[in-house]
Amino acid sequence: MTMNQSVTSSENAGKRKGQFSDVWKRLSENRAAMAGLFFLIFLIFMAVFADVFFDYQKACVDLNIAERLQWPSRAHWFGTDEFGRDMFARVVFGSRISLSIGFIAVAFGLLIGGILGALSGYFGGALDNIIMRICDIFLAVPMMLMAIVIVAALGTSIVNLVIALAIACVPIFARIVRSAVLSVRDSEYVEAARAVGGRTGHIIFRYILPNCIGPIIVQTTLRIAATISNIAALSFIGLGVSAPTPEWGALLAGGRSFIRDSSYLATIPGIVIMLTILALNLLGDGLRDALDPRLR
């Protein structure tokens, strides 16, 4: 467990491929992180191939009142909802929505926040000041409230949900990328790249960002976890994905009315959300340790 090998300059100079296999080696020794990774791969696999296993029409559209509100059994692993639809299939189709909104929103947040942060850190001065003061304003409002306000103003739809959650991520990524860029901006290899006449964009993307990718990857993983939780929360209070679409938070909200006699309807989607966030958190923590062994 004690990996106190400090990253020496010779390691830094090594090929990036070598760095990746080092990181992978350290990550694969972390059992918790690997468990998280495997769970996520399983989830993504199920989400992608949901149509092979289940019939969307049957799981999410058709009604089958004869089989309504059945507790989990061999025929219906997660039971059936108030319209007799199989909850397992609905949870699997729900994973498509929850995961894709989570990934897409964070990807947009990372892209916009990353560009702003990189510009801010690289150029400094007035531009840095303006971008960071705007970020301060966004960060002054708790993330969940910010998302609520944006969805409330734009109206509830999946696209607006993505926009709201992406905007909520932007200032966080801008700050992280900025400080990461600041930490390598004045190193010799960047100066060398500038000296041989490299263009600014080229320097930022080719030399600066690859060398401060660690904290960005870690934060991305943790933000996806937070965003998936926020999607579910927004759907739960009626500002996200609404009823017929099987999103996890919406499934949970739907189960709320039946909590007295059919508690599995609210329990199961919650457990799935929790396991997904847990897996992302474990992976994020593992990546943090693997990318920077000095932190251990």
């Binding site: 301060d136 708790p142 969940m144 409230l145 500002l239 949970l252 709320r256 909590i259 919650g270 958190n281």
Partner: protein, 308 residues
């Protein structure tokens, strides 16, 4: 110190102006016409135009914003579209509930988190450590509203110990506070552990042990105060998170606080009340962070000297 506090408060002003500007313009994007909402479906275009004029809604957005800001400086947040009463009065009636809920939740989470984090750090790499960290990882990953439902299911519906919703007796606050505080408990415990793990490896801790002090004294008197700084930061941030989370908890438990008012006003398209709730929560968040920064000085004499 006084100069530092004043400086920090002055710095809040542009941020808050920015927040009001941001929220005002975002809310302005909302479809629907305020006068129409107030007058209802059957209003004639003439009535709508007259009310718009009366409310100043026919003015440019920037004028409306400046007028709002002027009112805000006098503590006037406008009138609710839904009830016609002053938003300030309405929010201030709800605010004590949210403060009470957040306070109880914070106390609950801190009382549980500190021992959990400290014991995990002192017994690092034992089963106690793993167990408490698994516990807090699960806590971090659990959706607040799901925990709230599970607590209702077990403690209200099955056992009947606590009421399902409302704020009628002291019992009513227990479940909302636990569900709100649980996630924060977990992250405070994690931070406490990692900062204590670092602290107990310091030379002065070894010195304290070699003086012959017992473990309890060393941990509580020497390690704990020094390992506290990161924990205080996290507690401050978590209280901000709780203000956001209170929206969910208050909705599930029908707790009559600002968070629930916010959701009700969003559903009723009551823009002035929505603005008021957000602004109040943002100011509270900012003040909590300010207090946390000032607490740094109390706990760390090195920081205190920097204030001069």
């Amino acid at each position: 110190m006084a100069r530092y506090i004043i400086k920090r408060i002055l710095y809040l002003i542009p941020v808050l102006i920015g927040v009001t500007l941001l929220v005002f313009f975002i809310m302005h994007l909302a479809p629907g016409n305020a006068a129409q909402i107030i007058l209802g479906e059957n209003a004639t275009p003439d009535q709508i135009a007259a009310l718009e004029k009366e409310m100043g809604l026919d003015q440019p957005v920037i004028v409306q914003y400046l007028r709002y800001l002027g009112g805000l400086l006098h503590g006037n947040l406008g009138n609710s579209y839904a009830t016609g009463t002053s938003v300030t009065t309405e929010i201030m009636a709800r605010f004590p509930y949210t403060v009470r809920l957040t306070f109880v939740a914070a106390v609950f989470s801190i009382i549980l988190a500190l021992p959990l984090g400290i014991i995990a750090a002192v017994r690092q790499n034992t089963w106690v450590d793993s167990a408490s960290m698994v516990f807090s990882l699960i806590g971090v990953s659990m959706p607040i509203f799901w925990l709230a439902l599970m607590l209702i299911l077990v403690f209200s519906l099955k056992l009947g110990w606590f009421p399902v919703y409302g704020a009628d007796s002291w019992k009513s606050i227990i479940l909302p506070a636990v569900s709100l505080g649980f996630m924060n408990m977990a992250s405070i415990a994690r931070t406490t552990r990692s900062s204590m793990v670092e602290t107990i490896r310091q030379d002065y801790i070894r010195t304290a042990y070699s003086k012959g002090l017992n473990e309890r004294e060393v941990i509580m008197k020497h390690a704990f105060p020094n390992g506290m700084l990161p924990t205080i930061t996290v507690i401050g941030l978590e209280i901000g998170q709780m203000l956001g989370g209170s929206v969910l908890t208050e909705t599930v438990f029908a707790w009559p606080g600002v968070g629930r008012l916010l959701i009700q006003s969003i559903n009723g398209r009551d823009t002035p009340t929505v603005m008021g709730c957000i602004i109040l929560m943002t100011i509270s968040f900012a003040l909590v962070n300010l207090i946390v920064d000032l607490l740094y000085g109390v706990f760390d004499p090195r920081v205190r000297t920097m204030y001069r």
